[in-house]
């Protein structure tokens, strides 16, 4: 008998018809994120002016979870400030660890479609790849501007 799989419509839609999976020539922050174990590989591209994410995109390969999660993330962070984006990232990570409140999960909108991944330890890395790369990208950008 066919059981209900983890792949709901939100995930499959973002995987098959991503809105933000394309090049972004005028990006000023670009960072590669890799999961060496499974080969998920994305390049996150952001155009950030005065700490506001004016535009964003990603290119890469990987499983549906990593690709859909990155696409959902970009939909949520474009137009937001760096601060707001990182706050969402923090909430997302806590949701994956099963520590977010219902209210926080509501704030995560479509990203909450990945809530159940808390029960799939092998796939957590796929879900957080985009968010993790976002965090790293801002850290790198800060280091570069400081030096």
């Amino acid at each position: 008998m066919e059981s209900r799989s983890f792949y709901n419509e939100i995930l499959t839609e973002h995987n098959l018809r991503p809105e933000y999976k394309h090049d972004l020539p005028d990006a000023n922050i670009v960072l590669e994120g890799v999961n060496p174990n499974c080969g998920d590989d994305i390049f996150l591209k952001l155009k950030v002016e005065n700490d506001v994410i004016e535009d964003g995109a990603f290119v890469g390969d990987g499983c549906a979870i990593s690709q859909a999660s990155a696409d959902i993330m970009l939909g949520m962070i474009v137009g937001k400030t760096k601060e707001e984006a990182l706050k969402l990232g923090d909430m997302f990570l806590r949701m994956i660890q099963g520590e977010a409140t219902d209210e926080e999960i509501d704030q995560l909108e479509e990203a909450s479609a990945l809530k159940d991944i808390a029960h799939m330890p092998a796939r957590v890395k796929c879900a957080v790849l985009g968010w993790h790369t976002l965090d790293e990208a801002f850290k790198k950008a800060k280091e570069n501007s400081a030096s």
């Binding site: 066919e2 059981s3 209900r4 799989s5 983890f6 792949y7 419509e9 499959t12 839609e13 995987n15 098959l16 174990n37 499974c38 080969g39 390969d61 990987g62 499983c63 549906a64 979870i65 799939m120 796939r123 796929c126």
Partner: protein
């Protein structure tokens, strides 16, 4: 007897409601193996080879009986040629560190096939880096075939060592070991065979194959994890330096040096996994009881059913030979537009256990132009019903991933 009869011997298959078709990664264990390990610890446990009291002699005897069982199973000439290791990887590393580093030099060549598991590739990359010997690849046809021409050209007068798997863990194809050995010996090279995927599924006779070294793991053969075997020809093992040094591998030690123990103990430093050896012997006894006639017949029937089924599913591509007989129960496949990790996730949600990824054979997948794949691998205790459930689940995947019917 049928597969269903044998399933009763496997507690996990009775306890878990799962379709386990990841046998190339590790097999399940029959009760007889679990009992053998328990019996060792409950009635024979002492440090083998060292004590003079009855219990230690019993432990030693258990270990040596296991060694004899392995010798007979792979048709080695002597018990001295059977070295207990942790697994295939350790056996191959033993040959690389001991034989490889002491026998190869700049100007020499090491020949490996493109389809080697990383455990039969990385040790030779290490030997190549440390000695300056060049690493050369025998590339296969898309179906896994190594042509005579490839064997004749890549193995040449400079070749000193050839490393080859008898069965590929991705394609399941059986490599022409006799031809490779003939060519290698013609040019004076030794052959190191990875038997991890072959020894559990077909009769292997190391003397008939005339390979110089052969490694396999106990756990893929229904034995315990953490016990494996390295076979080596006595004449070669005798003149090789030890791999690991320390306890239980010496005759005498002075402040400055040591006289190493005779074979096989020279290569078994530290306390050996005696309970594991007892379990491995029980696994071999069990396997012999089932018999390779049944094993090969059943595994071929399962492979045939799986390949026929997958051939009918649109967008699914099976890797390797079109002939099920050249798959050794291993069926790797890709589904257009669906990442193998998602394939295995959907299968898992239907209670089906398969492997997804690069299968520790990245150079092969890169060579075939595939990033990763999904692998089903069968054992004689799998049933045709299980294969049918697997095919049904595979056929549903694209729809469940959002593609139209």
């Amino acid at each position: 007897m049928t597969a269903s009869d044998y399933r009763k011997d496997f507690p996990l298959l009775q306890n878990e409601d799962t379709i386990y078709i990841d046998n190339a990664a590790t097999a399940q264990r029959p009760q007889a193996v679990l009992d053998a390990v328990k019996v060792f610890y409950e009635t024979e446990n002492a440090n083998p080879l060292r004590g003079f009291y009855p219990l230690s002699l019993k432990a030693t005897e258990s270990c040596e009986n296991a060694r004899a069982t392995v010798r007979d199973f792979i048709h080695a000439a002597s018990k001295k040629e059977i070295i207990f290791t942790r697994n295939t990887t350790e056996g191959l590393n033993l040959v690389a560190y001991s034989y490889g580093l002491s026998h190869l030099k700049a100007g020499d060549e090491i020949a490996v096939t493109i389809m080697e598991h990383h455990s039969n590739l990385l040790p030779w990359q290490m030997v190549s880096r440390q000695t300056g010997a060049a690493l050369k690849f025998m590339e296969c046809e898309p179906d896994g075939t190594l042509t005579d021409e490839t064997i004749q050209t890549v193995i040449n007068e400079k070749t000193k060592l050839v490393a080859v798997a008898q069965v590929s863990n991705v394609l399941g194809c059986v490599n022409p070991i006799e031809k490779i050995v003939a060519r290698a010996h013609e040019v004076g090279a030794v052959v190191v065979m990875d038997g991890a995927q072959s020894v559990p599924h077909m009769p292997v006779d190391v003397q008939k194959l005339d390979v110089d070294f052969m490694a396999f793991s106990g756990h893929k053969l229904m034995g315990p994890m953490g016990i494996g075997v390295l076979y080596g020809k006595k004449a070669l093992l005798e003149e090789m330096p030890p791999f690991l040094t320390g306890g239980e591998m010496i005759d005498s030690v002075t402040r400055e040096g040591a006289v190493f123990a005779e074979l096989p103990y020279k290569f078994e430093a530290g306390t050996v996994n005696a309970a594991g050896a007892a379990g491995l012997a029980a696994a071999i006894d069990y396997l012999n009881q089932v018999g390779f006639d049944f094993i090969q017949k059943q595994e071929l029937a399962l492979t045939q059913r799986a390949m026929e089924g997958l051939a009918k599913v649109p967008h699914v591509h099976v890797m390797g030979s079109e002939n099920p007989e050249n798959h050794t129960g291993i069926v790797s496949f890709t589904i257009e537009g669906v990442h193998p990790h998602d394939v295995s996730e959907v299968l898992a949600s239907d209670g089906i256990d398969v492997r997804a990824g690069h299968h520790c054979a990245q150079p092969l997948l890169t060579y075939l132009g595939i990033h990763s794949s999904t692998r089903a691998s069968f054992m004689f205790y799998n049933t045709l019903d299980e294969v049918d459930a697997f095919i049904k689940s595979v056929a549903s995947i694209r729809r469940r991933m959002g593609y139209g019917e």
